[in-house]
């Protein structure tokens, strides 16, 4: 019975799958998929990204925030 709860689902990094090497910080549509409603970066354990791409994603998100491409925080929580 417990085994059903602990069913392992193998997640593969979406960037690795598509062989993306660099993450463009101008691409808001892409970045928005990896931030939550508050504008926080979604952790690797949830998004399933590999360490390499999570690092790249983090820098991309931070650059995009500086350029007001994506928000630091949501309008509602301000």
């Amino acid at each position: 019975m417990m085994a059903e709860f602990h069913k392992k689902r193998k997640r593969v990094c979406r960037f690795c799958e598509d062989k993306v090497r660099t993450i463009d910080f101008h691409n808001d549509r892409l970045l928005k998929r990896f931030i939550n409603e508050r504008g926080k970066i979604v952790p690797r354990r949830i998004s399933g990204n590999c360490a390499f791409h999570q690092r790249r994603l983090t820098t991309a998100v931070k650059r995009a925030r500086h350029l007001a491409i994506i928000p630091f925080t949501s309008e509602i929580f301000r």
């Binding site: 417990m2 979406r14 463009d24 101008h26 998929r33 998004s47 350029l67 007001a68």
Partner: protein, 173 residues
Amino acid sequence: MQVYETTFILSPQADDAAFDRQINAITNLINKFNGKLLHEDRWGIRRLAYPIKKFNQGFYTRMIFEGNGALLEEIERHFKIEEPYLRYLTVIFEGDLERIKGGRQDEISDDRRDFRRGGRDDDDSDRGPRRRFNRDDDDSSSDRKPYRRFNRVDENRGSGSSNDKSDSDSGNA
């Protein structure tokens, strides 16, 4: 020489001529320092994710160019001096120039469910259920209890019986 990219936001108050003037100023700087403009992309007026200097919109331009450190210093100095720049960011360019020139953006495959929408009731959600600790607790308690009980019982029985024996012996003598 290194390839850099710079993205800047111009104040939406200015007119088209002013946008042209500012962008040309950067282009002139690049030429002056023997740099090479590889790509210029004017996004036009775009909504800002948060207000900057009380503006809700801005004119975005992205430039990819080749140059040296002196050029970068001069460009950054220009950004600081000139009024209409709301934001700027210059970084080492990494990416596929041909791809960008073709106007294509990297997308990741979208066939799977969005992990952010994972509901608890949904069995197929990417996010698993909350962790459960009950199982571990049960295991440890079931291990410990019988062991202790066994020890205590053994001790009592052994000491009790020996005392009884010695008492009865002394009484008889």
